[in-house]
Amino acid sequence: MPTLAEPGLHEPCRPFSSSRLWNICAPRDAWYSSSVFEEPRAGITSLSWEFRHGWEGERQPLQSLGVNTLGSGLPSLSERLSGQLATLADHLSPELGEKVREILSLEPGWDGETAQSVRLNVVANVLSLLARLRRDRLELVMPFVAPTFDGGLWLDWTSPRRTLEIEAEACGWSVVGTTIGRDGTRGYFEAVEDAQATRMTDFCDWFRGDLQLWPTA
C-alpha cells in the first residue's frame, strides 16, 4: 500500500499521540488539500479528515467517510485517500487517473530492490499543481507521470523540440528543461522552485514556445 507522510500511521489505523498527524503541504490557493487530525473522545481515538475545495473548507469525521479506524473491514485510511486521489486525477484526465491508480498500487520493492511506494502527500501535491496549471492554462496537456525510487513522482512533458521535467523535492520543485536542435544536439536548463511553485506557469509557457525563458536551440 502507499505510505502516508508521517511515520506511525499504519493499517488498520491506530491511536496517535499528537493532535495533528498528517498534512498535505499544498500551495495556499491549492485546489485540494487535506489534513488528518486526532480527536480523543471519551477515551477512544477518532480521526477527522479535512478537505478544502478552493477556499471552502469542509471537515468530516473520518468514520463518516467510511474509513476503517478500528479494523472493521471498511477501507483503510490510505485506501480511502488513494481512491480520493485517483478520482481527483480522473477529473484532470482519464489517462492520468489510470496512471495514478497504477502508481498507487506499487508495493515497496516494486523495482525488485529497495524502491519505496509513492507517498500520498506527493501525489496530492502533484495533483494540486496540475490542477492549478490546468486552471491557468486550459489547453495544457497532462504530463507522463512516473514513480521515483524514493517515493516521489516525476512529471514529463515532451515535444519534438523541447522537454520539461518536474519533480517534487523536500522543499519545493526541481525543474529541468531540454531543447533539442535539428541535429539532435541537446541543451539543458535547470531551475528550482519553492513550494508555492509560483513560476510553474512560466515553465509551461516556455515548453509550449510561448515564453523565451531559456535560450532556444
Binding site: 507522463f144 512516473a146 514529463d156 531540454t178
Partner: protein, 132 residues
C-alpha cells in the same frame, strides 16, 4: 576469498544494461523516466558477461520489466560518474552475477536526465506482461 571473482576495468565503449520497470517507461513516446538513474549506486550488468536476456531474467519479476536499456560506460564517466565492476558471489544478495556493475556517484536531477538521454538503445522485453 580464494575463489572470488576479481573486478576488472570496464572500457568506455562497453555497454551497461539497465532494467526499466513498466511504471518508468512512456510507451507512447518510447521514453524512459530519468528516475531509472535515481540511485547513488545504480546496479547494471556489464555486456562483457551478460546478454540483455540474462539481465532481464535476473529480475525478481521479469514480466514487470518493459525494456532493457543500454548505456556506454564512457557516457556515464562523461557525466562525472564512476563505473565499477562489482561481481557478485553466490553468497551475495542477487548473486552470483559476474556481470554486476555499478554506476556510482551523486546524480542531480539534471545528471539523471542526461544519463537517460545518453542511452544508446532500448530493447523491448518480449515477455512483458501488462498489468491487469
Amino acid at each position: 576469498m580464494a575463489d572470488s571473482i576479481a573486478p576488472e576495468f570496464i572500457p568506455d565503449p562497453d555497454l551497461l544494461f539497465c532494467r526499466v520497470h513498466w511504471s518508468q517507461f512512456n510507451v507512447k513516446e518510447n521514453r524512459i523516466a530519468r528516475s531509472v538513474f535515481g540511485k547513488v549506486n545504480q546496479s547494471v550488468d556489464w555486456s562483457k558477461y551478460a546478454t540483455r536476456e540474462e539481465t532481464l531474467a535476473r529480475h525478481r519479476k521479469p514480466e514487470e520489466i518493459r525494456p532493457v536499456a543500454s548505456i556506454a560506460a564512457g557516457a556515464c564517466r562523461d557525466l562525472n560518474q564512476t563505473v565499477v565492476h562489482v561481481p557478485l558471489e553466490s553468497t551475495d544478495p542477487g548473486g552470483p552475477n559476474r556481470a554486476h556493475s555499478e554506476i556510482r556517484g551523486e546524480k542531480s536531477k539534471l545528471t539523471q536526465s542526461r544519463l537517460r538521454d545518453a542511452l544508446t538503445d532500448v530493447w523491448p522485453n518480449p515477455s512483458f506482461r501488462p498489468i491487469p
